[in-house]
């Protein structure tokens, strides 16, 4: 997933290797060019390597397909947020204007549905958009926190960073370095992250 890393703040590399359980090791391939990156993704996945994630300064066209990322289920959530908003709006208006404190407005019935449509529409949109934003931030871990982990701060500027997860002893690193280099990575780094 191409997280908008620009929102994140840099953090010092995790040096504490005592917390093995929460620590993950990554090989980071740094790319300068979007097209090179897209080809590299195809080749590296073709070579049977599982890519953990790719970080880019901006959304790259076609990268979701290249990485084989499933389509987001956010629209389904949005539909239910909308239904909640609609139900809430109808309840609010029907209960308050129809039962709790009935008033005659403009000679219309207490429960005058055409008059309720604008409010129902607004609340549906309100619930949908807020629900979607909150859900998106939560699942992308973009909610506010004290330390935000970033694998390489340059992915917020002009570099594309491909992260591949390593095992505890980094045994595949030499092979991966070669593979990334062959596919156009300008440098390959290793990095440990806690709580990522």
């Amino acid at each position: 997933m191409t997280s908008p890393a620009a929102l994140a703040t840099p953090v010092a590399p995790a040096t504490d290797s005592a917390t093995h359980s929460a620590t993950k090791r990554f090989a980071l391939g740094i790319f300068d060019d979007e097209d090179v990156l897209l080809h590299a993704i195809d080749n590296i996945r073709g070579a049977g390597v599982k890519i953990y994630d790719v970080f880019s300064p901006y959304p790259v066209h076609g990268i979701d397909d290249a990485l084989g990322i499933e389509r987001s289920r956010l629209p389904i959530a949005a539909f239910f947020y909308g239904m909640c908003g609609l139900a809430f709006a109808l309840w609010l208006q029907i209960y308050t204007l129809g039962f709790d404190w009935p008033m005659i407005i403009g000679g219309k019935p207490h429960i005058a549905l055409p008059a309720f449509i604008p409010v129902s529409f607004e609340l549906t949109v309100f619930f949908t958009c807020h629900g979607m934003v909150i859900t998106f931030y939560t699942i992308s871990k973009l909610y506010p926190r004290i330390k935000t982990p970033v694998l390489d701060v340059r992915s917020t500027d002009d570099k594309f960073v491909m992260a591949i997860e390593l095992d505890e002893h980094s045994s595949q690193l030499p092979k991966l370095t070669q593979l990334l280099r062959e596919n156009g990575a300008s440098e390959v780094n290793q990095k440990e992250m806690t709580k990522f």
Binding site: H61, R71, P75, F79, G107, K108, P114, A115
Partner: protein, 414 residues
């Protein structure tokens, strides 16, 4: 490419032949029904023709206004794409150009219909209605005498049609010249032409809606009406573009058109169906809430008036033009699969045709409306419309090969 076009022409000509046949058949059936009810001919209508003839003239007007709208929307859609420097839509550009083939014959027919049948369509054309002291005198209609006169109306009508036809022709010529000679100069000229056209269309579309549709209910007025008619035309025009694209694609043409383009067309159809509902509701709710007699008479006639004969079509109109496209096109897959999009497009075209039915019939035919003649005439129009559109599609390559954005359009992803 000519071969492709010729293939399309023959393919759709076959469809048309059967359509025309149905049309005549229905019309004949309607005629019989008309003759069986001679009582209706003795209606109290002061002027104009017999019920049968009136039905034919009014439904010709109704279908023609609808098809002219669909036709000009082809050019409007293309003009907006030019002005926005949009690339994705280049693959459907030739379909947009072809839609406007109906403008000239449709326009001529509209003028003839107005000259011959205006007493059957427009109450305000009746003799003496604007003359003080006459038995027919109507103070409210007389108050509009500055705008609704035969000469001025005709001049306005011809100017809208000429503006639309000239700009459609000009954009088409530029596009064809671009195919032959290449270069970006045609594109830049098209952008300027399109921008000018859009400004003129903004005015003429609203005014034509007042003239051609709203003045049927001459006592009534609505400031939303121009938008309302435009929204109806606009969504039908996009649906027609998508539908023709689907038919061409399924016949093996338009190879560069893929589900990404259909997705975008689907989004526009989805969005503008909601836009139409928004405009419809904006008009309805204010009238409903204020409940002024001179305004709410419009909805009284349609909801329960004339023994409730328009009530079902009033609700049908909302279901087919809003609820159905809204629910059916909501998911991504529905917009990307041709089968769903095709069903929705057909529904929208039928729906907006009946929207115009609902705008025009209560004011003209009152309690004497019907469907067989109207549907028959609509099918004849559809046949003629398709002949002209496919003939124009066949005239040029389906891909504007030298358009600067053709490459972008081919690689379009959403």
């Amino acid at each position: 490419m000519t071969l492709i076009g010729a293939g399309v022409l023959i393919l759709i000509l076959g469809v048309i032949a059967s359509l025309m046949h149905w049309g005549e058949h229905h019309e004949a059936a309607g005629e019989v029904a008309g003759h069986l009810n001679p009582a209706h001919n003795a209606s109290s209508h002061e002027e104009g023709h017999s019920v049968l003839l009136r039905r034919i003239i009014v439904s010709l007007w109704h279908s023609n206004v609808f098809f002219i709208g669909v036709s000009v929307v082809g050019t409007v859609f293309m003009a907006i794409q030019y002005v926005a420097y949009a690339g994705w839509s280049v693959v459907v550009k030739r379909i947009n150009e072809a839609l406007s083939a109906w403008l000239i014959p449709g326009g001529v027919l509209l003028v003839i219909l107005f000259v011959i049948g205006r007493h059957d369509i427009f109450h305000w054309t009746h003799d003496g209605i604007m003359t003080k002291g006459s038995a027919n005198y109507d103070r409210i209609v007389a108050g509009k005498s500055g705008f609704l006169t035969f000469g001025f109306y005709l001049v306005r009508m011809i100017s809208y049609l000429v503006i639309w036809a000239v700009f459609s022709w000009r954009l088409r010529q530029l596009s064809l010249a671009e195919d032959l000679n290449g270069g970006t100069s045609y594109f830049h000229t098209s952008v300027t032409t399109a921008a000018l056209f859009l400004v003129l269309f903004a005015v003429t579309s609203s005014m034509s809606a007042w003239d051609w549709v709203m003045s049927v209910d001459v006592h009534w007025f609505s400031t939303m009406f121009g938008w309302y008619v435009f929204a109806s035309w606009w969504v039908s025009g996009i649906a027609a573009t998508a539908l023709i694209a689907i038919f061409l694609k399924q016949a093996g043409y338009l190879r560069f058109m893929n589900s990404n383009h259909f997705h975008d067309l689907g989004k526009l159809i989805f969005g503008f169906s909601i836009f139409w509902t928004y405009v419809w509701f904006a008009q309805f709710m204010l009238i409903w809430y204020a409940n002024l007699p001179e305004e709410s008479v419009y909805f009284n006639q349609r909801l329960g008036g004339f023994e409730g004969r328009y009530t079902w079509i009033f609700y049908f109109n909302l279901v087919i033009n809003f609820a159905f496209p809204f629910l059916a096109l909501m998911t991504r897959d529905a917009k990307r699969q041709m089968i769903m999009l095709k069903i929705v497009c057909i529904a929208i075209l039928i729906g907006h045709w009946s929207d115009f039915y609902l705008m025009i019939m209560p004011g003209t035919m009152k309690g004497e409306n019907g469907f067989l003649i109207e549907i028959g005439i609509a099918l004849i129009f559809l046949g003629a419309f398709l002949i002209l559109v496919t003939r124009r599609l066949a005239e040029a390559s389906l891909v504007p090969v030298n358009h600067p954005f053709v490459e972008e359009s081919v690689h379009h992803t959403t």
